[in-house]
Symmetry: C2
Subunit: 186 residues, 2 copies
DNA sequence: ATTATCTATAGATCTATAGATAATGC
DNA sequence: ATTATCTATAGATCTATAGATAATGC
């Protein structure tokens, strides 16, 4: 039954990762502790030895998912030093982001405001981080103006993916993503 | 116990209206049938005489809420015949839309894709309707270009309200709404 | 007689906890 | 000896249904 400390730490990380995916897919209320643990290959009861509560896991999983997103954004911007903004926008507005477990900001957009403090703070921190990366990728202008541009760009990106995810109409989804892609990169 | 047919129809409408508000506020999974009926001044058991299921109520409530939104949008555009776009954008991006029961599109953005067919279809119909109103309000261009502009504008509006609702940081929320307002109306 | 609404409950599911088990790590 | 994980369950909550009640409407 018992495993090594190293293995236990790995198990814990796996729970956080699996939870991040399942929460994005099904929402905070749409998946239970038992199913998260099962998906991580553990049993329900073991959960409370590693986490204080489901809420605590939610905050940690969201935070980890958003840190991973920010890391990917930074790598992508660095890989396209001449056109970082276009690289970020195009990756985000690709059809992949319609997947049920895509970007946590879009996937949990309407769930976040209903959650307790720690989850909302993790969400907010993630938003600020991604906006900061966008602001740095803006081609020009004063810092305050770049920030404003980044806010509008991010709102458009999140809105586009949100609408594309929500509609069952594939053509409409593609049209929204494409129109926003053109607008934000031209 | 029993009430007149007229009164029963009124009661049913009240349930739909109250459900629309509560679903937007707490999400489809965040409020139960019993609490919806209680908020409408009825008892839990009476629900299934009027509705086939919670899902059926969800679809009907969403549809009604979005029809009401479209009606308000049309009235607003008609009230500002010279600047319909600015009127729509400004009303939508006012701080009021941070309220927990604001626009169903933003309030249920990440809940909708997880719901069954009828709810998703109601969401989709609402989106198409609002986009069409925006397209009609666009100052110029070919129909296809107006549609593209409307898609981008709506994505930005929804993204802005979504982010403003999610963040606990009032200043950040205001900054997002204001930046998008300026961008979309200039 | 019909029916809108009520009370009561079945059955499923969810969070959290209690106590047992067995392998690790001092 | 400690502890990561397991089994089992308490207690709460949720959807849906069954059957009773009492006022409406033919």
């Amino acid at each position: 039954m018992r495993v090594s400390r190293e293995q236990a730490a790995e198990n814990r990380k796996r729970v956080v990762k699996v939870a991040g995916k399942l929460f994005r897919e099904k929402g905070f209320d749409g998946i239970g502790v038992a199913d998260i643990m099962k998906a991580a290959g553990l049993t329900h009861g073991g959960f409370y030895g590693q986490f204080a509560s489901k809420d605590a896991l939610a905050a940690e999983a969201l935070s980890a998912a958003l840190n991973a997103s920010a890391e990917r954004w930074r790598a992508r911007a660095a890989a396209h030093p001449d056109t970082p903004l276009a690289a970020l926008v195009e990756a985000y507005l690709s059809g992949d982001h319609r997947a049920p477990h895509s970007c946590a900001i879009a996937a949990l957009a309407s769930d976040a405001p209903r959650q307790a403090g720690p989850v909302r703070e993790a969400y907010d921190t993630g938003v600020q981080e991604l906006v900061a990366i966008l602001a740095a990728a803006m081609p020009g202008g004063e810092p305050a103006e770049r920030q404003r541009q980044a806010l509008v760009t991010f709102a458009t990106m999140v809105g586009a993916v949100t609408l594309a995810r929500a509609t069952p109409d594939e053509n409409f989804a593609s049209a929204v993503l494409e129109a926003c892609r053109v607008k934000l990169t031209r």
